[in-house]
Amino acid sequence: MNLYDIIFYLFAAITVVSALFVVTTRNIIYSAFFLLFTFSGVAGIYVLLGADFIAVVQILVYVGGILILLLFGIMLTNKITNVEIRTGTVHMLPAGIATGIFLGVVVSAMVWTNWKSEPGLIPLTTTKAIGNLLITDYVLIFELLGILLLVALIGAASIARRDKE
């Protein structure tokens, strides 16, 4: 059990425990802040897998963008002045049983499968290689995603705009 394993278990524990709090705590603001720890833990796992660029993008986009967006959504759709910030739950027992069974099946399949896995050759910094791939092999998807982001930007602005009355 070397340093790599210890760091992995640390990040995995942060990720899983804070994700558990995200889906179980009653206060929705607390859920959003536990989501911060989940995203950071996942970024740490990306670093352990040799994906440094993806880890930085995860921090920038998820923590800096999506989480702030979710917090805006919470603030704008709850009455902060009241204590109406709690979120109700439905079907907790059947959902827990179903997802528990699902988790058991998936984990047992993963443990018993004999993966032919040896760590591949990931370069030390992946940014240059990812940039090369983006404009050679994946250029069509790259362009389509650019158009998609433009459409999402215009669409979100036009949906959320107040109507002129």
């Binding site: 790599y4 278990y9 929705i28 959003a32 979710l70």
Partner: protein, 103 residues
């Protein structure tokens, strides 16, 4: 067993996926449902990157993970715009009470 390999990353990803599905199914608030979706997308990204490293496929998995992150950002923006509109119309965002398409 304590030596970290592909299986450990896959198990973390499976746990995140299950927790995300649990959050989507049980929570009433639409923003909480969105948080569950983000957990699920993160778990798929862990899978992509883990197989990209241990499966010797080169960097394709990392590029796809990047695309997933972009899609998640676009999806969150659109979904929150829709949630704001729902709040303007129904004055709450509980997904089990919003059940009419047209008044």
């Amino acid at each position: 067993m304590l030596q970290v390999g592909l299986t450990h990353f896959l198990i973390v990803s499976a746990i995140l996926f299950s927790l995300g599905i649990y959050g989507i199914v049980t929570r009433k608030n639409a923003v909480m449902v969105l948080m569950g979706i983000e957990l699920v997308l993160n778990s798929t990204n862990i899978n992509f990157i883990a197989f990209s490293k241990y499966g010797n496929f080169g960097l394709g998995g990392q590029v796809i993970a990047l695309f997933v992150i972009i899609l998640a950002a676009a999806e969150a923006a659109i979904a929150l715009a829709i949630v704001l509109n729902i709040y303007k119309t129904f004055t709450n965002v509980n997904v089990d009470e919003i059940d009419n398409l047209k008044d």
